[in-house]
C-alpha cells in the first residue's frame, strides 16, 4: 500500500457510527482497524487511474439508521410477478418486513434478514471469509457499517423454483446517506437458485451505495445471479460481489448498469476446486456524465474450469466506460477454457472508453482468449435500414437496441427480460 500521508483517509468522506454495531462484532472490529490504516484510492493507484472519484470526494456521506417503517411507501411497480412470495426489501439499508414476502420455501431453506440469524452456524462460518480485496477500503466500510442484509441458505439437493428478489430501495433522504447492502448466500451440494439483486433510486438524490455480496457454492450447486443497478442519477455505487465455487458448481451472473453517476463494480469468481463453470456478463448503458467502471477477476485456481465473460457497453454524451478484465490461471490449473470479450459502442463524439484485458496465466495447457472492440454505428448499416424506409433516428435506435439485446436475452427470468427491454428502449429513444 502506498503511504497514507499522501492520501486522504476514508473518514474524510464517510462518517461512520460512533459505536460498533451490535452483531458480528469480531468482523466489525477487525474491519475498523483496517479502516484506520486505510487510505482512500486516488488516480495515482494503478487500479483507479481512469476512474474519477469526484462524485464521492466532493461530498461527505453519513451513515444513518432511519429505522423508519415506510408504511406509506408503495413499491408494487418494482415487484416481480415471479417473486411474489420470495422477496426481501431493504429501504435505505433497513430491512422492511412490511414490503418483504417469503412464503412456502422448502424445508431447511433460510431466506431472510442477516440480523435475524446472528448465531447461525453457516452464517458465522462464511460471513467475511471470501472478500479479501487487496488494499481495499470499501469491503471494510461495508463490514463496519451494514445494518441489515440478506442471508440465504439452501440445504443439500434443494431447488428453489421461484427467483429470489433482493430489492434495495433508496428513498429521497435529505442528507448524503451512506448505505451498505450485504448478501451472504450459501448453496449446499446440488442446490439450485436464481437471485435477482436490484438497486433502485426512487429520486435523483445523492447517496453512496457500497454493496458486498458473498456467494458460496458447494459441489454441484447452480446459481443464476442477475444484478440490476438503477440507482439515482446522482448516486455513487461501489460493488464487491464475490462467488466461490466448488467442484461441478455453476455460477452465471449478469450485471446491468443503468443508473448512478459513478459505478465501480469488482466482481470476482474464485474456482476453488476442479471442474466449474461460470459467467460474468455485463451490460452498461450510460449517458450524460456517467462513469461506469468494471474491474473483474476470473480466478482459476484448479484444473478444468470454464469461464465466459461478455461485457457490452453503450456510451452516449460525455459518459465514460472503463473495463479491466483479469483472468488468473494458477500454475497447476490445467485445461482451463476461458473467454473474455468487451464490446463498446460509442454513439457520441464526446464519450470515452478505456478497456484493458489482463491475462495472468501460469499453467501451460489452457485455452484463454480475449477481445476488445470500440466502434461506432457504421454508416452503411444506418443507410441500409434507412433505404428500407426507416428514419435515420429509428435506424440508429434499432442498431443500438440490437447491440444491447444479446446481453438481455440470456436473462433467466421473463419479467426481468421484459424490464430490461423497456430500459434498453428508453435509453435508445431518449431524445
Amino acid at each position: 500500500m502506498s503511504s497514507v500521508s499522501t492520501k486522504e483517509l476514508i473518514h474524510a468522506y464517510v462518517q461512520l457510527p460512533g459505536v460498533l454495531r451490535q452483531n458480528f462484532k469480531e468482523l466489525r472490529s477487525q474491519a475498523k482497524d483496517n479502516l484506520d490504516n486505510c487510505a482512500f484510492p486516488t488516480k495515482k493507484d494503478e487500479e483507479w487511474r481512469f476512474t474519477d472519484l469526484k462524485s464521492i470526494t466532493m461530498n461527505k456521506f453519513e451513515s444513518v439508521d432511519t429505522g423508519e417503517a415506510h408504511i406509506d411507501l408503495e413499491l408494487d411497480e418494482y415487484h416481480l410477478p415471479e417473486s411474489m412470495n420470495s422477496r426481501l426489501v431493504f429501504i435505505d439499508g433497513n430491512y422492511s418486513p412490511l414490503h418483504s414476502a417469503i412464503e412456502g420455501m422448502p424445508d431447511g431453506v433460510i431466506v431472510g434478514n442477516i440480523n435475524d440469524f446472528p448465531e447461525h452456524e453457516q452464517l458465522r462460518s462464511h460471513l467475511g471469509t471470501m472478500t479479501n480485496y487487496e488494499d481495499d477500503v470499501f469491503v471494510p466500510l461495508n463490514d463496519v457499517n451494514f445494518q441489515d442484509g440478506t442471508f440465504i441458505y439452501i440445504p443439500k439437493e434443494t431447488v428453489i423454483e421461484q427467483p429470489i428478489h433482493i430489492l434495495n430501495v433508496f428513498t429521497n433522504l435529505n442528507n448524503s446517506h451512506f448505505v451498505t447492502p450485504r448478501v451472504l448466500f450459501v448453496g449446499e451440494m446440488y442446490s439450485k437458485a436464481t437471485i435477482i439483486e436490484e438497486h433502485i433510486g426512487l429520486s435523483d438524490n445523492v447517496y453512496l451505495n457500497v454493496p458486498v455480496n458473498e456467494f458460496r457454492l458447494y459441489s454441484g450447486a447452480h446459481v443464476h445471479h442477475a444484478r440490476i443497478q438503477r440507482d439515482s442519477k446522482n448516486a455513487s455505487h461501489i460493488s464487491r460481489p464475490v462467488a466461490m465455487l466448488d467442484a461441478h458448481a455453476e455460477y452465471h451472473s449478469y450485471t446491468i448498469c443503468l443508473g448512478s453517476k459513478l459505478f465501480r463494480n469488482e466482481p470476482r469468481v474464485i474456482q476453488n476446486a476442479e471442474e466449474v463453470d461460470f459467467t460474468v456478463d455485463g451490460l452498461v448503458l450510460i449517458d450524460g456524465k456517467q462513469i461506469a467502471d468494471t474491474h473483474s477477476i476470473m480466478d482459476h485456481r484448479f484444473s478444468h474450469g470454464n469461464s465466459h465473460q461478455l461485457h457490452k457497453v453503450v456510451v452516449n454524451d460525455q459518459a465514460h466506460s472503463i473495463f479491466n478484465g483479469k483472468i488468473f490461471v494458477a500454475k497447476d490449473a490445467q485445461k482451463i477454457d476461458s473467454f473474455q470479450e468487451n464490446r463498446n459502442l460509442l454513439i457520441s463524439d464526446t464519450g470515452k472508453v478505456n478497456t484493458k484485458p489482463q491475462l495472468e496465466i501460469f499453467a501451460d495447457d489452457v485455452r484463454c482468449s480475449h477481445g476488445a472492440t470500440i466502434g461506432q454505428l457504421q454508416d452503411e448499416e444506418v443507410f441500409y435500414l434507412q433505404s428500407r424506409g426507416l428514419t435515420e433516428q429509428k435506424s440508429r435506435e434499432l442498431l443500438v437496441y440490437a447491440f444491447a439485446l444479446e446481453s438481455v436475452e440470456s436473462m433467466a427470468v421473463k419479467s426481468v427480460e421484459e424490464l430490461l427491454l423497456k430500459e434498453v428502449i428508453a435509453y435508445t429513444n431518449r431524445d
Binding site: 454508416d379 448499416e381 443507410f383 434507412q386 433505404s387 428500407r388 424506409g389 435506424s395 440490437a402 447491440f403
Partner: protein, 251 residues
C-alpha cells in the same frame, strides 16, 4: 416515372467526380439494364438515386413521379416507392428480418396514409411472399443477413423487395456471386414481382442475368456517363466483343 437529368456526383468531401452527366428516363412497366466495366459509376448511380449520404450531387436533378428527390433523405425516397437491392447486403446481428420488414412496411404505409398491419396480419402477409424466393418460414426469424451465404443474402434482398412492393427498384449486381440455381430462383422472383405498374433497373457487369430477366432497354455506362443505349442486342454485342472494343468504337 424516373427522370435523371445531367447528374453529376462526387464522394462527399472529395473532388473526384464519379458521375459526369448521367441522363436516364424510366417509365412504368419497363425493365432497364445498365451495363458497364468496373469503376464506370454504375453502382454509384444506384446509390445516388437511393440517397446514400456518402455522395453529393453537384449538378443535375433526379425526379421521381414528378417530384424532385435530389435532396431527399433515403427513407423519404423509400416512402415514395424507391428500392435498392444492395450489391453487398449489410449484416445486422440482433434484428430479425421480420422486425425490420414490419417496421419498414408500416413506416411506408404511414407515410402514404395506408393502413398498417398488426403483427398477425403482417405474419400472414410475409409468409405469402416467401414462395417468391423459395425460402422457409424460419428465414423470417433470422437476424438480417447474419451468417447468410452469398446466395441467401441476394435472395433476402429480393424478398424485401417483394414485401415492400416498391414502384421502382434498382438491383445492384444482384447476379454477382450466384451459382446457376440461385440465379434462377432470384430472377424468377424478380420476374414475379415485375408488373406493368412498376419498373426495374438492373445493374450488371455480365450479360448472364439478362438471359433470365429480359430487359426492354440496355444502357452502357463508361467513365461516369451513359454512352450508348439500345435493346437486348446491345448486351449481346458486348458479350461478343467486350467493353474494350466498344470503348474504341466510341472513341
Amino acid at each position: 416515372m424516373l427522370e435523371i437529368r445531367n447528374l453529376h456526383a462526387i464522394v462527399e468531401g472529395e473532388e473526384l467526380e464519379i458521375l459526369k452527366g448521367v441522363n436516364l428516363k424510366v417509365n412504368k412497366g419497363e425493365i432497364h439494364a445498365i451495363m458497364g466495366p468496373n469503376g464506370s459509376g454504375k453502382s454509384t448511380l444506384s446509390k445516388v438515386v437511393s440517397g446514400h449520404p456518402e455522395y453529393e450531387v453537384t449538378e443535375g436533378t433526379i425526379s421521381f413521379e414528378g417530384q424532385d428527390i435530389t435532396e431527399m433523405d433515403a427513407d423519404e425516397r423509400a416512402h415514395l416507392g424507391l428500392f435498392l437491392a444492395f450489391q453487398y447486403p449489410v449484416e445486422v446481428p440482433g434484428i430479425t428480418n421480420k422486425t425490420l420488414l414490419r417496421e419498414a412496411y408500416n413506416t411506408i404505409a404511414r407515410a402514404n396514409e395506408r393502413e398498417e398491419l398488426d403483427p398477425l396480419e403482417f405474419e400472414d402477409y410475409l409468409v405469402s411472399k416467401l414462395e417468391i424466393i423459395e425460402m422457409k418460414d424460419e428465414f423470417l426469424n433470422r437476424s438480417i443477413n447474419t451468417g447468410f451465404s452469398g446466395g441467401e443474402k441476394k435472395k433476402n434482398e429480393i424478398f424485401q423487395m417483394a414485401v415492400l412492393n416498391p414502384r421502382l427498384s434498382f438491383l445492384d449486381e444482384t447476379d454477382s456471386g450466384l451459382d446457376i440455381d440461385a440465379l434462377k430462383v432470384v430472377s424468377d422472383g424478380v420476374n414475379k414481382i415485375a408488373t406493368p405498374e412498376n419498373a426495374i433497373v438492373m445493374i450488371t457487369h455480365y450479360q448472364r442475368l439478362l438471359n433470365y430477366i429480359k430487359p426492354d432497354f440496355v444502357h452502357v455506362m463508361m467513365n461516369g456517363k451513359i454512352v450508348k443505349s439500345g435493346d437486348i442486342s446491345l448486351a449481346e454485342e458486348l458479350e461478343a466483343n467486350g467493353y474494350d472494343q466498344m470503348q474504341k468504337e466510341l472513341a
